[in-house]
Amino acid sequence: MIRRITLRLVSGFGLVLAVVTITFVLINLAPGDPARLWVGPAAGQAELESARHALGLDRPLPVRYAAWLAGFTRGDWGTSLAQQRPVSRVLRDALPYTVLLSAGSLLLTYLGGIIVGMVQAVKRRSGTDTAITVATLIVYGMPAYWLALILVLVFAFGAARFGWPGWLQFPALGASGLDADFLSPGRQLLDRLEHLALPLTTLALIGVAGTARYVRGALVDVRDRDFVRTARAKGLSPWHIETRHVMRNGLIPVVTLMGLSLPALFSGAVFVEVIFAWPGIGREMVAAVGARDYPVVMAATAVFAALVIIGNLAADLLYAVVDPRLRRSAR
């Protein structure tokens, strides 16, 4: 087990290294001169040359790569061209918001997805099953940015216009209200949760739809197995069979799914952060793309890759916990 984890950690670092290397090469191959961007269109040739020297752009590519990589591993990620502050500061400010949003939606996704999929598997081929299947199919096909707009339309604008009760009205923008700094800690928490509601719901709804489809298939598969029939023949209670026999076996592959679904989750989070002005890494990255702020784009790419790898490692560890066969063979 320890060997397995070490191996995963080493390959994880290799993966992050590969990702940042590819990004570095691509950015340096791309048309457009960062120095020109830095000095502005009005600058003359002499200023351009001195800017190129100041940015280190006049050195050969391998030297720049070595210097950049050395700085990158030390946590010196350069300076944001658009914001004129350290990239590491920009991303450190944004990271907690992205982690809060992603972790929250991951939790809701699997909680909701497992419950819905379980209901479907138990009531297989009933009207409920068919209705949920159609619903999950449609929700799973919805683009996150569009579902986000619909939720804003209903629970921010619609709720206000039709005078719905306060607990059904949610703010559509930002991570906290204008007056958040003046609220008591308890009120601040409530304020944050209110602002989290719509972004979280967007990601969780799509996640639940995808997970439920998978869980239903996995559980239906297990329920037809011989050992479940044996359990029924022994006269065990349906509850006991469902929890101890069907779920314990059927949900093991779902843990793998959790690791595999992380890239898709972060992809959705990028759009959702933009729409709800949620100050996370995805929003910083989209803004940086618009401003051609390459240092931020590169660092954000690396951070997303690292988040996926950490998540996959966690899923791997969890897998060993839930699957006794793996624990025994690893010993």
Partner: protein, 287 residues
């Protein structure tokens, strides 16, 4: 033609194929069936923000209303289908071709080649696709070709894994061994024996890939990084509808429904095919 027969046997897949066929017909014939010019802005002040089923000042009925510049929404949706469907289809073709090449070469040669290729695949798979797309689009100026290529080059990894598994399975079959014994070169083995037999799963992957690419293209357009204006695309229609969400909610809502229809259609075809091929897989697939 075996594939089409298989699709039609499954009810879900038939429904999905019907939806896609309808969208494709609309896209192809858009210039002839669209009721208005998708770019025309007749008398903006009096024709903008018309709701669905209203009559414009010029006496024509606007079935799905108009946007904030007075442009006919139904016509824009029809022309938007051209961009969405063609980007989705072309990107999926690139992804399937590239993935099949990588996966089958890995399976065929094995050893170090397989190790390196599959490690590369896993590395690419670990990145959120939108992040990759953003990083790539940031470097070059968006255009139709760039969006197609970038979507294709970020979508080949699942196909590669699938292709590797398929080809390995077929290589264990007696007829593959017979071909090798008869002196077939690796290229001949791959092109004449392995790929034709692994074709249908690749088509499944392609169908699912088209749906993904359509959703992502609309997403890039939504961020202003997709196929550039002035032509309508479902993504930039949703983006412009966002600015008028309160006054005219239909502008953002309707193109989104079109995206959902196209994506669900692709997923139905893919799932249905998968079930028809392998009854044990009960429509389950990681999200």
């Amino acid at each position: 033609m075996n594939v089409i027969k298989t699709v039609l046997r499954d009810r879900r897949a038939a429904v999905g194929l019907g939806v896609l066929a309808l969208l494709a017909i609309v896209a192809v014939f858009a210039p002839w069936i669209a009721p208005h010019d998708p770019l025309a802005q007749p008398d903006i002040l009096r024709t903008r923000f018309l709701g669905p089923f209203t009559t414009a000042p010029d006496g024509t009925i606007r079935w799905l209303g108009t946007d904030q510049l007075g442009r006919d929404l139904l016509s824009r949706l029809m022309f938007g289908a051209r961009i969405s469907l063609s980007v989705g289809l072309l990107a999926a073709v690139i992804a399937v071709a590239l993935g099949t090449a990588v996966g089958s070469v890995a399976a065929l040669f094995g050893g170090a080649v397989e190790g390196v290729l599959m490690a590369l695949t896993d590395a690419a798979l670990a990145l959120p696709r939108v992040v990759l797309l953003l990083a790539l689009v940031a470097l070059f100026n968006p255009s139709f070709g760039l969006v197609v290529i970038v979507l294709g080059f970020t979508g080949w990894m699942p196909v590669a894994r699938l292709a590797r598994g398929e080809v390995k399975g077929i290589m264990a079959q007696p007829y593959a061994a017979a071909a090798v014994a008869a002196g077939a070169s690796p290229a001949r083995l791959l092109l004449r024996h392995l790929l034709p037999n692994a074709l249908t799963p690749m088509i499944v992957a392609g169908a699912l890939g088209v749906g993904n690419a359509i959703g992502l293209e609309a997403g890039l357009s939504f961020l202003g990084l997709g196929v550039p204006a002035p032509g309508p695309s479902w993504g930039n229609m949703i983006a412009s509808g966002r600015d008028a969400l309160i006054q005219a909610p239909w502008i953002a809502t309707l193109p989104g429904l079109a995206v959902v229809a196209a994506v669900v259609g692709c997923n139905l075809v893919g799932d249905g095919l998968l079930d028809a091929l392998d009854p044990a897989a009960t429509g389950s697939r990681p999200g």
